[in-house]
C-alpha cells in the first residue's frame, strides 16, 4: 500500500518536474539560440514585477517567459480545421506527449538498486529497462504520423511520411549502439549499467563509437535539428504540426522536449556514468550521497541538453537522401562492426 | 503615281492627294517633326522644326540634285522624283538647334503644366533635342492671362507657332487672337474686350502644341497620362462629332476632338466639349423605382424589370393598347431592341419617335482657301463644320428603325394627341433627360390618360416622377452603340464609363426584357442583327462600322432627306487613317502603368 502511494508520489513529482523543466527548456533554448546569433534573447518577462504587499522584484533573464509562453499556448484559439480527421487529429498530440512521458518510467534519475535509501526510479528493478524505453519511445512516431495523416494537408502528410521513415530507420542503429554497453554490463537494467560504469570505466571510454552512434540516432529520434525533416519549416511549412494550434501544438512541443530529456538521461546513464563521479561509488547508500548522486546526474543531463541545443543552432538540416544514407550506409554497418568487435574483445578478455 | 525617295528608299504615293513632305513621309512610316503645320491651316513654316534636305531626281539621267539649304517639309510638295533626307547629320543638328532655340525662354514647369504627357516640346525634346541648356541669361517671363472666360494663356510657354492665330482667322473667321510685338517680345494676345468666345474657341487649346493655351475647365485637375481614351461620339447635336472621351477613376474629364473628314474635320464646338459633364452629374438616377401605394420606391434592378414586364403583359392580356416612345437619343441598337420588344408583346403596339429638341438653326463655319488665309494654302482641303440646331444625335437612325417596324414615323406630337385621347393603356418612354419635353406639362397631360407608365431615363424628370416604373438607363458615356448623324452617316461610339450603380445600360434592359439569354449584350452583335433586318443599315454588315463611319442607304419612304453624299472636298478613303498630332498620343493604359 505505502509502496503504491510512494510510486504515485514519485510519478507526480517526476512528471511535474518534467513539465516544469520542459517549460524552462524552451527558455533555455531561446537563450542559447540568441547567444549563438549574437543576440540577448528573452529578457523582459519578470522585469519590474510588483508582487502583493507592494514588493517589487526584478527577475533577470526573462525568467517568467515560460509562464507567458504557457499562458499564450493555453489561451490561443484552438483552431480545428473542418477538413481534418477529427478523432485522429485530437489523438495525435496526446500520443506524442503520453509516449514521451511513459518512457521516463524506467529512467533512473539517481541511484537505484538494493540497499539504497530510496529508489530514484518510478519503476525500479525492471529487467528489460532499456528495451522498454525504446519500445515506448518508438510509439511517439504514431503521434507524428497520425498528425500528418489526420491533418489532411499535403505538407503535413509529407512530414508524417518522412517522420515514419526516419524514426524507423534510426531505431536500428539506436538499438544496436547500446548493445555494446549491454554486453559489457551484462544487463539491460539501467541501474546495473550505471553500477558497472562506476566499477569500471564510463561508457564513453569503453564504447566511444557506441556513444557517437547513440548520440546521432538519439538526435534523429527526438526530431531535432539537424534531423528535423518531419517539420522542416522551409520546405514543409511546419510539417506534421502545420494545422495544429494552441495547446495541441503545445503538446507536440512538450513531447519533443520530454524526448530531449529522456535521451539526455539515457546518454548520461549509458555512456557518461550516470551518477558516477570521483568520490561517489555504488557502495555509498546514505541520504547525502543519494542527493549528491541525483544532483550529479542532473548536472550531466543538463550538459547533454545544452549540447543538443548547441548542435541544433550550429548544424544545418540534412537533406532527406543524406539522412537515409547516413542511417543505412554508415550508422548501421558501424553499429554492427562495433557490436561484433565488442563481443569479440569481451570473449577474448573473459577467456 | 508619284515615286519619292525618303532616306534612300523609294516609295510610291497614292494617287489623287496633294501631300507635303510631312504627310508623305508619315504615310511611308518616317516621322518629320513639326509644330506650326496643321493640315487644316495654311502653311507659314515659322517653327522651322520640319526642315529637311530636299532634292530632285532627274527622271532621264537619275542624277540627284539637292537644294543646298534645308527646306521646310511642310512646304515641300511630295511630287514625283522628290528626294527627301530626314536623318542626315545636318538635319539632326538642325533639329537639335531648333529645340534649343524653342526652349530658350520656355519655363521648366512641366510638373504643373497640364500639357505634360501630350506636349510637343516634351516629346521632341526627348527625340530630337538635348539634355543640356546653354542659355545663361535671364529668361523672358510673361504673366499668365485669360484670353476668354474658358481659356487661359501661359505666354511664357508659347513657342509662337501661331496655330491659334491662324485658326481664328482662317477657320472661324473671327480673328480674335493676334501676335503682338516683335522678336523676343512677341506674344499672343487678344484686343481688350474682344475675348476668344466663338463657338469653336476651345479648339485653340487642342491646336496648341505646348501648354500655352489651356482649358480652364480641365486646368490642374488631372494628369493626361492617367486618362484612358475612348472613341466616342458627341451626342449634343445631329452632327455627331467624333470625340475622344477621356476617363479616369470612373469620371469623364474632357472631350477631345477626333479627326473625321466627313463629319467634324478636326474640330468640336464648345457646347459639345462641355457636354462630357453630364456623365458626371450627381443628379443622375442611382436606382430604379417602382411605384408602391402612390409613391415611387427604390428597388433592385431585377425587381424593376420584372415590374415592367408584369405591368405591360397585364395590359396586353386585358386587351389594352401599348405605345412606345423612342427618343432620338437612343442608339440604333437600343431602338431596334426596344421596337422588337414592344412588337413581341403586342404586334399592334404603336411606336413613335420621341420629341426632337431643336434650338436655333444650323451654324456653319465654312472656311475656304482664301478668306483670312495668309500663308500657303495649297495643301489645305477646306471642309465646313456645322453645329446643328437639332440637338439630338440619332433622329435619323431611330426613324429608320421605326419606319422598318411601323411603315411610317409617328411624331411625338401626334402620339401625344392620341395619348390624350386615352388610346393607350400602357406607355413606355425610353429617353435621356437631355430631352426638355418631358416637363410638368407633359407629365400632367400623359399621366391621367395612361394606366401603366414606364419611363426609362437617366434623370428624375417630371414625367419619371409620376411613372409607375422608372428604369435607370445609361448616359451617352455609359453605353456603346451607333448613331446616324444628320448626313445619314452611321458612326459607332464606345462606352467610356461602366454603368452607374443601380442602373443598367438601356441595351441590357431591352435584352433582359426580350429574354435574350444570360450575360451582357454586345452592341456590335445587335448592330449585326440590325444590318440583317433593316436594309438601310445593310452597310454595317457584321456589326462593323469603318473608322470614319459609313453613310446608310436612303429609304424610299423618306426621300426628302438626301444628305447621303460625303461633305465637301475630294474623296478621302472611307477607311483612311485619322490625323492626330504625334504628341497627342499618350499612354492608353490606365493609371500610368507601363506595359511590361
Amino acid at each position: 500500500m505505502w509502496a503504491i502511494i510512494g510510486i504515485v508520489l514519485k510519478i507526480g513529482v517526476v512528471v511535474g518536474l518534467m513539465q516544469g523543466t520542459v517549460a524552462y527548456l524552451i527558455l533555455v533554448e531561446r537563450k542559447v539560440a540568441a547567444y549563438a546569433q549574437d543576440r540577448i534573447g528573452p529578457n523582459r518577462a519578470g522585469r519590474h514585477l510588483t508582487l502583493p504587499f507592494g514588493i517589487k522584484i526584478n527577475l533577470p533573464f526573462g525568467l517568467l517567459q515560460p509562464i507567458a509562453d504557457g499562458a499564450k499556448m493555453v489561451l490561443k484559439e484552438d483552431v480545428v480545421p473542418t477538413y481534418v480527421d477529427k478523432p485522429l487529429y485530437i489523438l495525435a498530440p496526446m500520443i506524442a506527449i503520453i509516449a514521451a512521458t511513459l518512457g521516463f518510467a524506467v529512467v533512473p534519475f539517481g541511484p537505484v538498486g538494493p540497499g539504497q535509501v530510496m529508489q530514484f526510479q518510478i519503476a525500479p528493478g525492471v529487467d528489460i529497462g532499456i528495451v522498454y524505453v525504446f519500445a515506448i519511445g518508438s510509439l511517439a512516431v504514431y503521434g507524428v504520423v497520425l498528425a500528418g495523416y489526420a491533418s489532411n494537408n499535403k505538407y503535413s502528410f509529407l512530414g508524417g511520411l518522412r517522420s515514419s521513415a526516419q524514426l524507423i530507420s534510426y531505431e536500428v542503429p539506436l538499438g544496436m549502439s547500446i548493445l555494446g554497453m549491454v554486453l559489457l554490463a551484462g544487463s539491460l537494467d539501467l541501474g546495473k549499467i550505471m553500477a558497472w560504469q562506476d566499477q569500471h570505466v564510463w561508457g564513453i571510454v569503453a564504447q566511444p563509437i557506441g556513444f557517437l552512434l547513440f548520440l546521432v540516432s538519439g538526435f534523429a529520434e527526438t526530431n531535432r535539428l539537424p534531423f528535423d525533416l518531419p517539420e522542416s519549416e522551409q520546405e514543409l511549412v511546419g510539417g506534421f504540426h502545420t494545422e495544429y494550434s494552441a495547446m495541441k501544438f503545445g503538446m507536440f512541443f512538450l513531447g519533443e522536449y520530454m524526448h530531449v530529456i529522456t535521451v539526455s538521461y539515457l546518454t548520461v546513464i549509458l555512456f557518461l556514468g550516470g551518477w558516477d563521479f570521483p568520490g561517489l561509488s555504488v557502495e555509498q547508500t546514505g541520504l547525502l550521497s543519494a542527493i549528491l548522486k541525483v544532483l550529479v546526474t542532473a548536472g550531466k543531463v543538463s550538459f547533454m541538453i545544452f549540447l543538443i541545443m548547441w548542435i541544433r543552432w550550429t548544424l544545418p538540416r540534412f537533406r532527406y537522401d543524406q539522412l537515409m544514407d547516413l542511417a543505412w550506409k554508415s550508422l548501421v554497418p558501424l553499429a554492427l562492426v562495433n557490436l561484433v568487435a565488442t563481443a569479440g574483445i569481451i570473449q577474448l578478455i573473459r577467456g | 503615281m508619284a515615286t519619292i525617295t525618303i532616306n534612300g528608299d523609294a516609295y510610291t504615293l497614292p494617287e489623287g492627294e496633294k501631300l507635303n513632305a510631312i504627310q508623305a513621309a508619315k504615310l511611308c512610316g518616317v516621322e518629320i517633326p513639326y509644330y506650326c503645320w496643321h493640315p487644316a491651316l495654311s502653311v507659314v513654316a515659322n517653327c522651322r522644326m520640319c526642315e529637311i534636305e530636299v532634292g530632285a531626281k532627274d527622271p532621264a539621267t537619275g542624277e540627284i540634285k539637292m537644294v543646298p539649304k534645308l527646306v521646310p517639309g511642310c512646304q515641300t510638295l511630295a511630287k514625283d522624283g522628290v528626294v527627301i533626307v530626314t536623318d542626315s547629320a545636318k538635319v539632326q543638328e538642325h533639329q537639335r538647334m531648333i529645340m534649343e532655340y524653342l526652349l530658350l525662354n520656355h519655363p521648366l514647369d512641366c510638373p504643373v503644366c497640364d500639357q505634360a504627357g501630350e506636349c510637343g516640346l516634351q516629346d521632341y525634346s526627348y527625340h530630337f533635342g538635348q539634355a543640356t541648356h546653354r542659355f545663361v541669361e535671364e529668361r523672358t517671363v510673361n504673366p499668365r492671362k485669360d484670353v476668354s472666360d474658358a481659356i487661359q494663356l501661359n505666354q511664357d510657354r508659347c513657342i509662337m507657332c501661331t496655330r491659334c492665330v491662324r485658326f481664328t482667322r482662317e477657320i472661324t473667321h473671327t480673328g480674335e487672337l493676334h501676335v503682338m510685338n516683335r522678336g523676343n517680345h512677341a506674344e499672343i494676345d487678344v484686343f481688350p474686350g474682344v475675348p476668344v468666345d466663338n463657338p469653336l474657341a476651345g479648339n485653340v487649346v487642342d491646336l496648341c502644341p505646348v501648354g500655352a493655351l489651356l482649358d480652364k475647365d480641365f486646368l490642374h485637375t488631372q494628369r493626361v497620362w492617367f486618362l484612358s481614351k475612348h472613341e466616342s461620339i458627341c451626342t449634343r447635336c445631329a452632327t455627331g462629332c467624333n470625340v475622344s472621351a477621356e476617363e479616369n477613376r470612373g469620371s469623364l474629364w474632357r472631350f477631345k476632338p477626333r479627326h473625321n473628314p466627313h463629319v467634324n474635320d478636326y474640330w468640336i464646338c464648345d457646347e459639345g466639349r462641355a457636354s462630357y459633364k453630364e456623365a458626371n452629374n450627381p443628379a443622375l438616377l442611382a436606382s430604379m423605382y417602382v411605384k408602391k401605394a402612390g409613391t415611387p420606391e427604390p428597388v433592385a434592378v431585377d425587381q424593376a424589370v420584372a415590374a415592367t414586364e408584369r405591368g405591360l403583359k397585364d395590359v396586353v392580356a386585358r386587351g389594352g393598347a401599348v405605345a412606345g416612345v423612342l427618343s432620338p437619343f437612343l442608339t440604333v441598337e437600343e431602338a431596334y431592341l426596344m421596337a422588337r420588344y414592344l412588337k413581341s408583346l403586342s404586334p399592334q403596339a404603336v411606336l413613335a419617335l420621341g420629341p426632337v429638341p431643336v434650338s436655333g438653326g444650323d451654324q456653319t463655319f465654312a472656311p475656304d482657301k482664301t478668306t483670312g488665309r495668309t500663308g500657303d494654302t495649297s495643301f489645305v482641303v477646306p471642309r465646313p463644320f456645322t453645329i446643328r440646331g437639332e440637338k439630338c444625335p440619332n433622329r435619323i437612325g431611330v426613324s429608320e428603325v421605326l419606319a422598318h417596324f411601323e411603315g411610317e414615323v409617328i411624331g411625338w406630337e401626334s402620339l401625344l394627341a392620341r395619348v390624350q385621347k386615352g388610346e393607350f393603356a400602357a406607355l413606355y418612354v425610353a429617353s435621356d433627360a437631355l430631352d426638355p419635353a418631358f416637363d410638368e406639362v407633359a407629365a400632367g397631360a400623359i399621366r391621367p390618360r395612361v394606366g401603366f407608365l414606364v419611363v426609362q431615363d437617366t434623370h428624375a424628370t417630371p414625367l419619371a416622377q409620376v411613372a409607375d416604373v422608372v428604369l435607370a438607363g445609361a448616359t451617352f458615356a455609359e453605353k456603346a452603340g451607333s448613331y446616324v448623324n444628320a448626313d445619314r452617316r452611321l458612326q459607332y461610339a464606345e462606352a467610356a464609363l461602366p454603368p452607374r450603380d443601380g442602373s443598367l445600360p438601356d441595351l441590357d434592359l431591352f435584352a433582359i426584357l426580350l429574354a435574350r439569354g444570360a450575360g451582357p449584350v454586345r452592341s456590335r452583335e445587335v448592330l449585326a442583327e440590325v444590318a440583317e433586318a433593316i436594309p438601310a443599315f445593310g452597310v454595317a454588315r457584321g456589326g462593323v462600322v469603318p473608322p470614319f463611319g459609313v453613310v446608310i442607304a436612303t429609304t424610299p419612304r423618306e426621300g426628302a432627306d438626301a444628305g447621303g453624299a460625303a461633305v465637301g472636298g475630294p474623296a478621302v478613303a472611307e477607311s483612311g487613317s485619322r490625323f492626330s498630332d504625334p504628341w497627342t498620343t499618350v499612354w492608353r493604359d490606365h493609371g500610368g502603368r507601363k506595359r511590361i
Partner: protein, 195 residues
Amino acid sequence: MNANHPDLKRMTPPKLSLGDRLYVPQVIAGLAVTARHMAGVVFGDSAITVQYPEDQHIPSPNYRGVHRLNKDESGRVKCVACMLCSTACPAHCIDIVGTTAPETELWGDREKYPASFVIDELRCIFCGMCEEACPVEAIELTGLYDLTGLSREQMIFDKTKLLSVFDLTKDAEPMRYGSPPSRPTSSTELVRDSI
C-alpha cells in the same frame, strides 16, 4: 536553353577530405564557432541587440520610413501636385487632388498646389520611388520607423499629418541628404497626437 548551351557552366562538387566525410571533425569545428559567439555574448558584449524602448535604433541615413511633405522657406507645401509620385507608386497608395494656386501674395508665384495629399501608409511598401520621382523634392521618406496606429483610418496620412512629420523631423533630418538623425523621434507620438 539546351544542355549544350555555351553559357552553361558545369560545376563539379568539391572533393571532400576524409575529415569532411566523417562529419565529426567538421561538426566540432562548427560547434566551436557557435561556442565562440555564445561566449562573446555571455562574457563579452558582442550582442547586437538594441534594447528598443529604452535605446532607440538609429537607422542609416537612407532608411525609408514614414513620408513627409517638405515646406519651403515661406512655410508653404513644396509639392506642386504634379502627381509624378502617384504615377511612380507601385502600390497606388498616393492620392492627390491638385488645384490652382490662389492669386494671393503668398501663393502668387505658384501655379498649382495639392488641395489634398493623402498617403495610405498601410498600403505603402516604402520603396522610395515617390522620393525619386518628385521633381521639387517635396516628398521624402524619413527615418521614422515605429509607425503604429490603432485603426486603419489613423494610418491614412493626409496633408496636415504629412506636413507635421516634416516639422517633427526637420531638425533631426535636414532636407535632402542631411546627416543621420542624432536623436530619432518616435512617430508613435505622431499617431497618438491625432487620436
